[in-house]
């Protein structure tokens, strides 16, 4: 690569880092009228770049009749520089599931990907259980109106539990490459403690049609905090000859109240999609000394628009008061 070696290109000597310019919090759910009477939470922002704007899907929350949360997917449209809000969806982008369905008690998050004239949405559906609070699986919904509304592909999930992934299948991110659909997602490995807390790791699956998936069946990203580390929401982007994965990670316990145990943004890179080298120090972004992302950073999502690479993410309290953005300095 010679003199063109970019400053953020991962190298083995540990000297080069990415650098993100924080754009601050760009969306606060309490400033807007949201679908289904949702007031707080705008979690796991994920972008769909459209002709004249950037549509950002997020999960917001409603209280149900027994006082528990149900997550719904809404979206907000920004101009192509993420500097101005053009509008907020009046209806949920996808209906939650019916009685007994995998997504009966909420959808969070939703990941859009363009596939020809369609937009595919990979959803994480939640259903409540008795001995543990919840389980989840990954569903598919399809839009033919540029991401304004989605129809579910069946009432069940497209990726769910399997022999060595017994629960908590979630957080799909899908990319098409060379005619193959690649999915990065998370799977649960343990419930432990009282009340029970979960552990989950990042995995990878492939598909020829986006519907029938074959899991690779291994943990993709090495642990940094030991075997009980929780890894969530992988997002993958390719630039400058390298695949970059951002995700978030935390401790199994104390992550809600202890700043040190809370979500941070992790990073890994790969030359071949198969082998990933974790090196969180290269992520180039960390919590701020104060403000909306001072205790926690989570649910990252990267995308490119007009030659700029953006990172959307949530801050404190898992995005109760919205999401922010950062732009890669090149």
């Amino acid at each position: 690569m010679g003199s063109g070696w970019p400053a953020w290109k991962p190298t083995r000597n540990g000297q080069m880092f990415m650098k993100w310019k924080k754009l601050g919090k760009i969306f606060d759910p309490t400033d807007h009228a949201l679908p289904n009477g949702c007031v707080e939470f705008a979690q796991s922002p994920q972008a769909l770049v459209c002709t004249d704007f950037i549509r950002v899907y997020f999960a917001t929350r409603q209280r149900d009749a027994i006082g528990k949360y149900v997550s719904h997917i809404a979206f907000v449209d920004f101009d192509r520089r993420l500097s101005r809000i053009l509008g907020v969806s009046k209806h949920a982008a996808i209906e939650v599931g019916g009685l007994g369905a995998f997504d009966e008690h909420g959808i969070f998050p939703m990941s859009p990907v363009r596939d020809g004239d369609r937009v595919l949405a990979y959803t994480t559906g939640w259903n409540r259980k008795v001995s543990v609070p919840v389980d989840s699986s990954i569903g598919l919904a399809i839009s033919t109106d540029d991401g304004r509304s989605f129809q579910k592909f069946g009432t069940g999930p497209v990726v769910t539990t399997s022999l060595h992934e017994p629960f908590l299948i979630a957080d799909a991110f899908v990319a098409l490459r060379g005619g193959t659909y690649h999915m990065w997602y998370i799977y649960g490995t343990a419930w432990a403690g009282d009340p029970p807390e979960r552990v989950y790791k990042i995995g990878h699956a492939t598909s020829a049609d986006g519907v029938a998936w074959e899991k690779e069946g291994r943990q993709l990203i090495a642990d940094r905090l030991g075997s009980s580390e929780c890894q969530a929401l992988p997002t993958v982007i390719h630039f400058d000859g390298c695949h970059h994965m951002f995700f978030c990670y935390r401790r199994q316990f104390g992550f809600r109240t202890d700043r040190e145990g809370a979500y941070r943004i992790g990073y890994a890179f790969s030359d071949d999609f198969a082998n990933w080298t974790r090196d969180d120090a290269r992520a180039g972004i960390d919590v701020s000394p104060d403000g909306w992302d001072s205790d926690m950073q989570c649910y990252p999502s990267t995308f490119e628009c007009d030659g700029n690479i953006y990172l959307l993410y949530n801050g404190n309290e898992f995005g109760r008061r919205g999401f922010g953005a950062a732009m890669l300095e090149r």
Partner: protein, 318 residues
């Protein structure tokens, strides 16, 4: 038309004093051994303080040359329940076994408990290396789980092997209906095939037409090959009110030449409830097998096997 001669009830869980086998002997499934026929079934300890049950797999052995003579019973649990949060944390019911080389493979429906509906189910695999006496899981998750067109309640597995391919007949939930007491699932008979017994390909269609109502529940599809075609005995009932007389399980029948297209004709099943006694209200969960020149059927009786299962012998199938 099949013609079955009932040989009576062969096992009643009230006749044994095993605490985890207090109630129910459901879904009998036979494994023929050298000197005996081992019949697996699902049983339950007493209900917990909330009135809820778990279910275990057990077995009872009968003399091969006298299927009415019981010679052994599983005194210890042969498969523990699943781990916390897993699909089989609260039950393993029913089970179906098949020989695979020196091993015995058991496919079972695992049960978990949910908030808005009482339960969910998926199909697991456990393997025995001691001729079916004890089993261990090869993973903590299911081998056959939910999919976009089979959203929940994957249960009632029956494992068979034809022409080198392994087949699972099972049921898949279609929807939950709000009943008077609690939601009840509607489920239909489906099929999957596999070359190794671990990676399964779903056929993806209901196999058996419904006759009682659109929401007829179908269960326990038991398939065997005889006289040039495939035969399926299964159970069916109304979805709601199935504890009322006339709405509970009966045994149905269908046949097929290719395992995919099935013609239902319940009148040919040739077995129905008795005028009185242990199988006078409902019969269900048939398991048909050949033994030493005869064809037999195990099936469960009243109250979905609460008081055990019985045996019938095929007299004619003309």
């Amino acid at each position: 038309m099949f013609s079955w001669r009932k040989l009576g009830r062969v096992f009643d869980p009230r006749d044994v004093d095993i605490d985890w086998m207090k109630d129910f002997a459901q879904a009998p499934s036979a494994l023929v051994l050298d000197d005996r026929v081992r019949v697996y079934f699902a049983c339950r300890p007493a209900a917990d303080s909330n009135g809820q049950f778990v279910s275990y797999v057990a077995y009872v052995d009968f003399k091969r040359d006298n299927l009415l003579e019981r010679i052994n019973i599983s005194k210890q649990r042969i498969l523990p329940l699943g781990e916390r949060g897993a699909f089989d944390e609260f039950g393993t019911n029913p089970a179906s076994v098949i020989r695979n080389g020196a091993e015995v493979w058991m496919y079972y429906a695992g049960w978990t408990r949910c908030e808005s509906v009482p339960f969910n189910a998926a199909i697991g695999l456990a393997i025995s290396r001691d001729d079916g006496a004890t089993f261990g899981r090869i993973g903590n998750g299911p081998v056959l789980s939910y999919s976009f067109d089979e959203p929940f309640v994957i249960g009632s597995p029956r494992i068979r092997k034809f022409n080198g391919t392994m087949y699972l007949w099972y049921v898949a939930g279609k929807r939950w209906i709000r009943g008077d007491d609690r939601p009840e699932p509607v489920y239909k008979i489906r099929m999957a095939s596999s070359s190794d017994g671990i990676h399964w390909s779903k056929h993806g269609a209901d196999l058996i037409d419904s006759v009682l109502e659109e929401d007829e529940c179908q269960a326990s599809p038991d398939v065997f090959f005889s006289k040039g075609k495939y035969h399926m005995f299964f159970s069916y009932r109304h979805t709601l009110g199935f504890k009322d007389r006339g709405r509970g399980y009966q045994i149905g029948y269908a046949s097929s030449s290719d395992l995919r297209a099935w013609t239902r004709d319940d009148a040919k099943a040739g077995i129905a409830v008795s005028p009185d006694g242990w199988d006078s209200e409902t019969i269900s969960y048939p398991n048909v097998f050949d033994l030493d020149g005869s064809t037999y059927m195990y099936y469960q009786g009243n109250q979905v096997g609460k008081y055990g299962f019985g045996l019938a012998r095929l007299e004619a199938d003309s």
